[in-house]
Structure formats: C-alpha cells, structure tokens
C-alpha cells in the first residue's frame, strides 16, 4: 500500500494505530471468553480461567488505548508544531521495545497465569492489581518508553510552534505519565494499596484521559470541519478547568468504602456529581462548532468543509458516548447513598463498558480513520457501507451489553445487597436469579454483535481507500 505521509512522526503514529487495532481485537476475544464463562461456567475451566481472560480483556483495553493515544500525539504533532518530531528515530525504537514487551507480558499472562506468593511473581508474572497487572519489569519498560515519548513531545514543541492544543497536551501527558508511578510499589496494607491504585486508575480515566480526548477532539474539529482555532482552544481551556476541577477531587467517590475516612463521602459526592458537566459541554461544543462552521459556509453560498466523514462520525459519537457512558452511567451510582448498594456489582461493569467505549475507544477509532486518510493522501475520505456497519454494530453491541449489565446489576443489587446482606450465599442467589441469567445471555449476544462490528471496522480500515465512493 502506498504511503503518502511525508512526516516520519505521522508514519510512527500509524504504526501505533495498527498495533492498537490488533489489541482491540484481543480485548474483544478475551472479553468474549469471559462473557461465555458467565453463561457456561465450565468453559475453559482450569485452562483459561475467568481471572486470566478478564485480565487480558482489561489489560488489552488499557494498552490499546495508550497505543492509540501515543499514536495520536505522534500523528498530530507535525500538524500543530509545523515541524518533524525531534527524535522520531528514538520514538520508533521505543515503539518496537514497547510492542515486544507487551507481547511477552501477554504471553506470560496466558501461559504462566499465576505464580507463588513472592515478589518474583510480582516482578515477572503479574502484579495482581486490576488494570495495572503488568509485572514490575514491564512497568519500568513502559516508563522508559513514555519518557522517550514525553521528551519527543516537549523538544518538538519547544523547537516548533506551540499551539494551545499542544500546551494542554504537554501538561496533560506529563501528569498522565507521572501518575503511573503511583502504581509501582507494594504494600501489605490493602487500604493504602487501593488508595494509590486509584490515583493511577481514576486520575487517568476521569481526569488526564478526559483532557486528552478533549484536546484530540479539538484538533479534529480544526482538521475535519475547519473549525476556528481560537474558539476551539478557548473551549479546550474551559474544558480543562471543568474536567480537572471536578475530576481530581472526584476521586473521592472511590474512597467511600476502602477504609478511608467519611469526609470522602461529601467530597466524592460533590465533585464526582459535577463530572458530567464538562462532558455535556464537550458534546455541545462539537455540535455547536459543526453547526456554526456549516452555517457560515452555507450563508456564503459555499459547500461546508467535511473532509473525513467516517472519522467525524466517530468523533461526534465519542462526544455523545462520553456524556452517556461516563456522565450518565457514572452519575447513576456516584452518590454514596446509592454506591453503598452498587459498589462492586455489575453496575460498575455496565458503566465501565459504556464509559471506556464512549469516552475513549470511539475517539481513538476516529483517529484510526484520520490515519487512514493521511496514509492514502486523500483530501476527502468518505464513509462506506462497511464504515456504517462497523459504527452501527459496535454501538449497538456495546450499548446492548451496557443495558444487559445494568439489568444484571439491578438484580444483583436488589437481591444480594438490599435483601440478603452481601454474603457468599446471597451473592450466588443473586447470580442465579432469572433476571441475572437472562441479562448475561443478552450480554453474550451483544458481545458477539460487537465482535462482528469490529470485523467490519477492520475490513473498512483496510479497504476504504479502494472503495468506489473514494475513487470517483
């Protein structure tokens, strides 16, 4: 395939996108295994148990999103700074090191799975801490690669032009990388363990990652519909103020029940209840800019600019999905009065599925299409039937899983928590209630729909350049 990208940085970005898409496939496959196990518990029992399938499922998620995020920055850096990325060669080396490390980690997860209770296991096999299970050696490797990445971003921004978007990204990426260090230690105190664990997980997904996608969507609005940079960047700064203003202290909603003091009830409830506000604003902003830019052009009798319909479809979807999954589904159970019943149930899983998909996955899939457009060198990329099928099936699949899990969570909360008192027996009575079983069946069906949507997406990413609509 011909590559029309002139900047090495953009080529590196597309390399990251390719691995990200493959890891997304791994995430869906292992999610499917875990989903099957809920319905047929004997499936792969003591071969590839739920804990392994689930670990690969969520780790693949975190890693593919990080790949797509790093790729996005390498991709947009030349556009924003106007120059080739400083140290892009080192960046490529980092890419190969990281990819090798990820491959080894995943193989060890699947083949070795668990180890004896000692520090060697935590260093070599897995750390057993949800989302950041990667063994310590890999942590250190990740830190080295991220340092290369950060250095590249900073040096390029200093040498080239430093736009508002790049300024936000510089600050955000530094925080994002620094927070990872909070997850790299061992303590026998489970409360302190979880306290710092949330610094990584929460301050990533509900603060720094949100600011990251806000920056990406800002850049994309300028790129795809020709939005006014000054307005986009003003919105971005307002977004940063609102996202960090609510998200940083919103961490309190994870400190209700882990041994931490009661004052986190008030702090967590107040600030996390505000978290949906910037997400609404982000969606409004996208719609506003879209309408405004189109209106101005139409008023002047010109054709509105829209040079990448599949990417724009995913960006708009992301702005709404972020609000729905992170905002609405998060708000459902963020107040302590509710959370004491729902914490640790399928409610959380429902929120997790829609929030990660809406907020981050959709925006990163949009970036894949930006990468395809750049690679093909097309001034305008139009969506195909497969683009629409991929979008529709992925959305129907994930929303379907979310609704199923919400119903399962509802049943679980009512039976296990409200009625029976959270015992071992109460847990299984809830798990075997027919509401729960039906919901898990539907979740599996919707998981298959999601996988089919992914196949359409991959097919489209590979063939959209040759499609009829793009070769007229």
């Amino acid at each position: 395939m011909a590559n029309n990208l002139t900047y090495e940085s953009k080529k590196l970005g597309v390399m990251y996108f390719s691995v990200a898409a493959a890891l997304l496939g791994a995430q869906l496959l292992f999610g499917l295994v875990a989903g099957i196990q809920f319905v047929f518990p004997g499936f792969l029992f003591e071969v590839l148990d739920f804990n392994v399938a689930r670990m690969v499922h969520i780790n693949a998620l975190v890693v593919w999103l990080l790949y797509a995020m790093i790729g996005s920055v390498y991709y947009l850096l030349p556009d924003e700074t106007g120059i080739e990325t400083v140290g892009v060669g080192l960046g490529k080396l980092g890419f190969y090191v990281l990819t090798l490390a990820v491959t080894v980690v995943v193989l060890v997860y699947i083949l070795v799975q668990v180890g004896p209770a000692n520090h060697a296991t935590l260093w070599l096999i897995n750390e057993g801490r949800e989302y950041i299970e990667a063994p310590r050696w890999a942590d250190i490797g990740i830190v080295v690669v991220v340092l290369i990445f950060l250095a590249n971003v900073y040096l390029t921004a200093i040498k080239g032009e430093r736009t508002g978007i790049i300024t936000v990204l510089m600050a955000d990426l530094l925080a994002l990388a620094g927070l990872y260090l909070a997850g790299m230690f061992y303590t026998e105190n489970i409360s302190i363990d979880q306290y710092w664990w949330w610094w990584v997980i929460h301050l990533w997904v509900e603060a720094t990652w949100e600011v990251f996608v806000a920056s990406i969507i800002g850049w994309a609005l300028i790129k795809t519909i020709g939005a006014n940079r000054q307005i986009v960047e003003m919105w971005l700064w307002i977004e940063v103020a609102m996202l960090f203003g609510s998200g940083i202290l919103g961490i309190g909603h994870h400190y209700f029940w882990i041994g931490t003091p009661e004052y986190w009830w008030e702090i967590g409830a107040l600030f996390s209840a505000l978290e949906p506000v910037p997400l609404v604003a982000m969606f409004v902003h996208v719609m506003y800019d879209w309408g405004k830019e189109a209106g101005i052009k139409k008023g002047a009798g010109e054709k509105p600019m829209m040079n990448n319909t599949p990417a724009f479809m995913w960006f708009v979807g992301s702005a709404f999905g972020n609000f729905l999954g992170a905002g609405v589904w998060g708000f459902f159970h963020t107040l302590p009065q509710m959370n004491i019943y729902t914490h640790g149930t399928q409610f959380t899983a429902a929120h997790g599925h829609l929030a990660f998909f809406g907020a981050f996955a959709m925006a990163m899939i949009a970036m894949f299409y930006m990468g395809v457009q750049g690679t093909t060198g097309k001034k305008e990329l139009k969506m195909t039937f497969a683009s629409k099928m991929g979008f529709a099936l992925l959305c129907i699949g994930v929303v379907g899983m979310t609704v199923s899990l919400t119903i399962a969570g509802y049943g679980q909360v009512m039976v296990e928590r409200a009625q029976m008192g959270a015992t071992w027996e109460a847990y299984f009575i809830s798990q075997n209630s027919h509401w729960f079983l039906q919901a898990m069946g539907w979740r599996l069906v919707m998981g298959v729909v999601t996988l089919v949507g992914f196949l359409y997406l991959v097919y489209d990413l590979l063939t959209i350049r040759n499609s009829k609509v793009n070769n007229q």
């Binding site: 668990v114 026998e188 029940w257 847990y427």
Partner: protein
Amino acid sequence: MSKKVSVWTDNRFWQRSAAWVTGFAAMLLIWLTFDSMGQIAMGTDNDLQNGVTKRVPSPSVINYKITYEMSDKRGHEVPVIGEKETFFGRDDYSEEEARALLNLGKLAVQAKNCMNCHTLLGNGAYYAPDLTKAWLDPMWDGYMARLGKDTKEEAMAEFLQFPSENPSHGRMMPNLGITAEEAKGIVAFLKHMSSIDTNGFPRNFSKMQGAIHGK
C-alpha cells in the same frame, strides 16, 4: 486580535483559570491524602491491647475475635475487636509474626490474581463473591462440617488449596496451586481485612449471621 474583547472570550483568561482550578484541586487532594494516609496507616499491637480504635488495625488483630456492632452515631455497623480467639491454634502471634503472615497473604492475593474474579473492599471483578468480610461469612460453618475441620480458619485454608474439589456452586473457583503456607497467609489477610472500618460497606451486612456482636 488586538481589538479589546470581553474577558469571557479571552483565551488567556481561561488558560489562567484552568491552571488555578487544577492547582487548587491538586493541592486539596494532596493535603487530604496526607490526612487519609495517617488515618489508614496500620495500628500497632499496643493499640489493640489498649482498646485504641484504628481504621486499619495491627496485623496482630488475628489474635482477637472480630464482630460488628450497629453504631447509632455513625448510622452503620462498625467493627468491634473482642476477646482473644485462637487462629490456627494460637492467640499469641507477635506483631512481627502476624505481619509476616499478612504479608504472605497479601503477596498470594496478588500473585494468584484474586482480584480478577473477586472484589476486595468492593474493587475487582464481579465473577465471585466480595471478600471484604469473607472471614465472617456464615458459609464457613457449613464448610467446617463438610471438610471435617474443627475451626473456620482450617476449613478456609483447606478450601483455598482444593477449591474445585469442594465447590459451593456451578461457578467454581479454579485450583491456583495455593500451598498450605500460602493458604494460611491468605486466611490471615482475610481476617485482617474483615476488621477494617469500611464505613458500613457492604450494605445490610448486619444480616450476616454471627457477624454481629452477641448474635
């Protein structure tokens, strides 16, 4: 650009606002973190002997009976560290011995990847029961009879070593190669975790038989 416009459409104003808001929120979080760290640091053996309440007690809490009591002031159940109780035949674990056992248990909980099926303090995966107060679960009474063990801790340790041979339901726990020593550590970890003051989580936990003081 040079024309004087409203402050509300001035990027510099919003940039500074973002910096101030972020800085203020981060400073407040750091300050609260210092306070929380003090409150969730592990207590000492002396605290236990003198009846000083800690949110996360000393590992030597395994020498004591743990129950819960409704606190009218706080509106939920709070842990009560009661009289001495043997744990694997002893009730005189020194703080160092208890800490070593707890440490082994915590390492095992991570090494065996418990958190990707179970929840600990409500965090983890949702494929298996929450372990926050698993030590107090009435299910173990049945397991004592079933496994022919005299004490709860022995029944738990036996179950942990051979879970798929002793399943409670169709959705079984797999055999994870947990050794006898590791199982003992995990039970110590679970007993210690059940003494952590979780602000009344999980809800309606008072319905657990035997969990409540004097019942």
